[in-house]
């Protein structure tokens, strides 16, 4: 028999939090090495310009400056993108050629064109000011629709146009569907540029010696993937490249998944100078370069029958990818996945999606939680709302009519959804909101000049991406991997290949392994982040912790039980196997006679400290590595969110009175951790949907490079987020667990926009564009009133 289930499902306190709360966290900037020097960048002040001259003499002469390099000095390293570091997607792709520093031409404000290395940060900034750059400004293109015009300025003249990527995704017979439709909803939706901005900015520390090679401490979500791309780019043996994510990292939200130009330079400089080279990005650089996501226009059409059945969808998606010079995602991997996930939780059989990704003189898009699908989720759930209104149908009814009903489900474009229950989730959301009575309250409020509204959104959230999808797309595996290893004192080290940074793996993995081995989470310690001590894996991305990685830990722990049983039986001098024992409370207990028991610590001791006591012929040690791969092409969680708002039409200001999130975590390992993921995801979604925006002026200068201008909400700006569990265990993971958190922000914009529009029904307002700032709402009200 297995073990007594004691820890899974309990909201125990996070093991991580003590060190984080008392200031004992170990972050990248805390690491200091002897002889270390610091690196900083001269960045373009123009959105598009020829570099006519760079004078580095004065900077190089400043005492304390070790070196100054420009693009010409790193050209020999070669262009950054290789087959390995470019997504391999169906459709037509172009690949920009670029170097760690821009050569001859800069393409956005913030583009790195020279690097300075100095003994300390003060000297560094003095020196950066002394580098003299002469520019010859070029015409710029900032608007994605402008980028498509034949006469638009070109970022990459040899391309012939500004199109980075184009793909057509057809399924079924959309023309026939539109011919049969009773109603066609057609609307243009626009989602602005916004995304993630982690508390800790990017940074790295590179150290080199010819014996061991390169060690790079890096703020990254994917140490192993970075390792092999870095070794490839720097042309050093894989055995000479080690990447370490520090123990703690202040968030990532997708921004630390790509391979960046700056980290390539740190490695190059460490090799060149034979000194450890450190770089810590400042907030301005961060807001200039990363976290910019979303930024799509959707021209979306739905073919709808009188009874509300959606029979067809067409969407022309235009994504503004910025300069596209970031490896691994190259600006278009996000819009691609967003297009594949457009129909999402809806069962729409006939589809015609056309995605065009263009380059502009802005920073490259980087991944942000709800990878690529934030804009599409907004567009589709808004269009469904418009359809409901046109048919005078309840917004819940139309969603239930079109939601995926039977599982497993394969969407028209081939996305596999394993399990879920939309009717059950809607029922819980409606009950929580007292939805039936709300409509009465709403019409009374309207009579009294108050504007209350409710809005819903629904969708599926990725629960890890399987190898079947990742290998062809990104040349990376999707499996989860963990090594479970007893130490000589009966404690268990779990080494994982991912690099958690806020997801709580140290706690949740300890909970599942404790259950599998009859121990307490206190007995389990989880290690991660170092490519030289953990197994190879794709990294912490796409909600793969609770789906893939944790499942690997479960399987690895289970794999130890036969050997543990054999050792226990040997110590008890009896004949017995795995099925004869239960592992509980730190003991291997014989089921038929519970007085016969062996401390698990004793089993470990025998396996490691005193192997002479092992059964004859048994190999010493007690460890196992498992690679978990789900037997399906896709696992997802199915979720329903609802917002209730009150709008003050005189100013367009509004209050999110309630926010109800009904989420499916399959089998929550630690419900508190799940709630934390949802709270964070909703907070990010509200920030992105309502407050945050990267704004460029007509010259391509970004106006939001401090947190005074880029408005991230604090707890004071957020509603109480009510989380409700509606769990449908996944049939494909050992515990039924699902990943949670990555896709959550995508639920928010439509829920809030639908609620605002619902509240303003008497005023006839239609919301098509984000962000939902009070001023935008006020202008919509003004426009609607002047039409009357």
């Amino acid at each position: 028999m297995a073990s007594a289930n004691a820890w899974v499902g309990q909201s125990i306190k996070r093991k991580e939090d003590r060190r984080l709360l008392v200031g004992d966290g170990q972050y990248l900037p805390d690491i200091v090495l002897p002889r270390m020097v610091v690196m900083g960048f001269v960045r373009s002040i123009y959105a598009h310009a020829k570099i006519t001259a760079i004078d580095t003499a004065q900077a190089a002469a400043l005492p304390g400056v070790r070196t100054v390099l420009t693009g010409a000095d790193v050209k020999h390293l070669g262009s950054v993108l290789s087959d390995m570091s470019t997504p391999n997607l169906p459709g037509e792709t172009k690949r920009p050629i670029f170097w760690p520093l821009s050569i001859d031409e800069v393409k956005y404000v913030g583009d790195p064109l020279a690097v300075v290395v100095a003994r300390d940060k003060y000297t560094l900034e003095d020196a950066l000011e002394l580098v003299d750059v002469e520019y010859d400004p070029l015409d710029i293109v900032l608007d994605p629709e402008h980028a498509l015009q034949p006469d638009a300025p070109r970022l990459y003249p040899d391309w012939g146009d500004n199109v980075l990527y184009h793909q057509h995704i057809p399924a079924g017979d959309p023309d026939a569907a539109f011919a049969q439709a009773d109603l066609v909803v057609k609307e243009r939706f626009r989602c602005h540029r916004t995304g993630g901005q982690p508390m800790e900015t990017r940074g790295c520390l590179a150290m080199y010696n010819p014996g061991e090679g390169l060690t790079l401490w890096l703020t990254t979500q994917r140490p192993h993937i970075k390792r092999h791309l870095l070794a490839e780019y720097l042309n050093i043996p894989h055995s000479q490249m080690r990447v370490i994510m520090p123990k703690d990292m202040g968030g990532a939200f997708g921004t630390k998944a790509p391979l960046y130009r700056e980290e390539l330079l740190a490695c190059h400089l460490a090799m060149k100078l034979r000194r450890p080279v450190k770089w810590v990005e400042n907030r301005q650089e961060s807001l200039m370069n990363v976290g910019q996501g979303r930024d799509q226009i959707h021209e979306l059409e739905l073919a709808v029958k009188k009874d509300g059945t959606i029979i067809g969808l067409r969407d022309r998606i235009l994504a503004d990818c910025g300069d596209a010079r970031t490896a691994i995602y190259v600006g278009f991997a996000m819009p691609f996945l967003g297009a594949m996930y457009l129909i999402n939780g809806y069962d729409i059989p006939n589809v015609d999606i056309d995605l065009t990704c263009v380059v502009t003189n802005k920073a490259c898009l980087t991944p942000s939680r709800a990878f690529g699908s934030f804009a599409g989720r907004f567009a589709l759930d808004r269009a469904v709302e418009l359809a409901a209104r046109a048919l005078d149908m309840d917004p819940v009814e139309i969603r239930l009519k079109n939601a995926i009903k039977t599982f497993p489900h394969v969407s028209a474009v081939g996305v596999h959804v394993d399990s879920g229950d939309f009717p059950g989730s809607f029922a819980k959301a409606c009950a929580a909101l007292d939805y039936d009575n709300f409509r009465k309250e709403q019409s009374e409020a309207w009579q009294n000049g108050r504007y209350l509204g409710v809005g819903f959104s629904m969708g599926v959230e990725i629960s890890g991406v399987p190898s079947e999808v990742l290998v062809p797309m990104e040349r990376q595996p999707g499996f989860g991997v963990a090594t479970v290893q007893f130490d000589a004192h009966g404690k268990v080290q779990v080494a994982e290949g991912d690099s958690p940074h806020g997801q709580g793996h140290e706690t949740t993995i300890a909970q599942v392994v404790a259950d599998e081995l009859g121990l307490s989470p206190e007995d389990i310690y989880v290690t991660y982040g170092d490519t030289h001590s953990g197994p190879f894996a794709a990294g912490t991305i796409g909600s793969r912790g609770a789906s893939y990685t944790l499942s690997a830990a479960v399987l690895a722990a289970r794999a130890l039980r036969p050997k543990m049983a054999n050792i226990a039986a040997h110590l008890l001098h009896i004949e017995a196997g795995e099925d004869d024992f239960v592992f509980r409370d730190g003991y291997a207990i014989l089921i038929r006679d519970e007085s016969q028991r062996v401390p698990i610590a004793k089993i470990a001791e025998v396996a490691l400290l005193s192997p002479t006591e092992l059964p004859p012929g048994m190999e010493a040690g007690l460890e196992h590595t498992s690679h978990f791969e789900a037997e399906t092409a896709g696992m997802h969680s199915c979720n329903v969110h609802a917002a209730q708002v009150e709008v003050f039409p005189e100013t367009g200001e509004y209050k999110i009175v309630r926010y109800v999130a009904v989420d499916d975590a399959g089998q929550p390992i630690n419900p508190m951790v799940v709630r934390g993921q949802i709270h964070g995801g909703v907070a990010m979604g509200i920030g992105n949907a309502c407050m945050e925006e990267f704004i460029y002026d007509e010259n391509g200068q970004q106006l939001t490079t401090t947190l005074l201008d880029y408005h991230i909400p604090s707890s004071l700006d957020l509603p109480h987020i009510e989380t409700i569990e509606h769990n449908v265990p996944s049939p494909h993971t050992p515990l039924g667990s699902k990943g949670k958190g990555e896709g959550t922000p995508g639920m928010v914009p439509a829920a809030v926009a639908n609620a605002l529009e619902d509240a303003l029904q008497p005023l006839g307002v239609k919301i098509t564009d984000l962000p939902l700032t009070p001023e935008r709402i006020w202008k919509l009200i003004q426009a609607a009133q002047s039409k009357e």
Partner: protein, 291 residues
């Protein structure tokens, strides 16, 4: 984000010493109070002083008391102290409202009233509030003299105020309000603790029958500095403050105070916020006046 090296750092303990240092170092020197505006400017290298004269050790510069019919607020009084001081909560709630609206707790614990007024951000919270109360600054000069200047005149434009290189603001003075006076302050910002898109301060004195005797209304978040809504205030004088009158005052204020576009909001939206907020703030001020 690292400041240029400074040559000298001084931490004087009394006003005379500050003035001597100012005289010696003059234009190369910067006074450091809460540092919540100066330090960000230095980190961005928009300010590059050679000498820092740190005011934080100067004794008795953070007093808050009433004297000779005037409220004295020491230059170094922190936003958090003003927001919670019993005397201010009792008789100058408008000031406490403004102080409470500034930034976040860390900023309120360090930032000072004189620092804010000298810094002269047109979207800051104190300036409209102190203007509505007809506040003045008492300025000590290195040559031993002092001068008193109304905040209206002291604020010269965005991040510009009438302070000489050899001068130190020692306190803010505000006339003790007449009986049946009340004030209020409100701001609209994009996120909590952010600078104002629009803020409104109002101070009202009523006669025993509830007729408005005196009113002042000041709008922040406009360029080049907070603007007095004189016509709106004039409309209120000698009248009972009923709803239609307040609406009219809002209209008048929106008309007379000029607004501009920036990243935070358009001019038209700012005017609308003035139109809506003036009546609300005046209503709250008159309620307080009646209490």
């Amino acid at each position: 984000m690292y400041p240029r090296a400074i040559e000298n750092y001084f931490a004087p303990t009394d006003v005379a010493e500050v003035l001597t240092l100012l005289q010696q170092h003059g234009e190369q020197a910067k006074l450091l109070a809460g540092g919540q505006s100066l330090m960000p400017l230095m980190k961005l290298r928009l300010a590059e002083p050679q000498t820092i004269i740190d005011l934080n050790q100067v004794a008795a510069l953070d007093d808050i008391r009433e004297e000779n019919g005037r409220l004295h607020i020491g230059a170094l009084a922190r936003h958090a102290d003003v927001a919670t001081h019993p005397l201010i909560l009792q008789s100058y709630p408008l000031l406490a409202d403004a102080a409470r609206n500034i930034g976040d707790p860390q900023i309120r614990n360090r930032g000072t009233i004189a620092g804010s007024l000298v810094h002269a951000d047109p979207s800051a919270d104190y300036p409209p509030a102190v203007m509505a109360l007809d506040g003045q600054l008492v300025v000590a000069k290195a040559d031993g003299g002092t001068r008193t200047v109304a905040l209206d005149d002291f604020l010269a434009g965005p991040l510009m105020s009438d302070i000489g290189e050899d001068e130190l603001v020692t306190r803010i003075e505000i006339p003790v309000p007449a009986a049946r006076s009340g004030g209020a302050y409100a701001k609209h910002s994009q996120v909590a603790g952010d600078f104002a898109i629009i803020s409104v301060a109002a101070h009202i004195t009523l006669d025993p029958s509830g007729i408005c005797q005196q009113a002042s209304i000041v709008v922040g978040g406009v360029m080049p500095k907070p603007g007095r809504a004189g016509q709106a205030a004039g409309l209120l004088q000698g009248k009972a403050l009923d709803a239609p009158l307040l609406t009219q005052a809002g209209e008048a204020a929106a008309e007379e105070v000029e607004t501009e576009d920036d990243v935070r909001a358009s001019a038209a939206y700012r005017s609308q916020l003035i139109r809506v907020t003036v009546p609300e703030v005046v209503r709250q001020a008159s309620t307080r006046a009646g209490e």
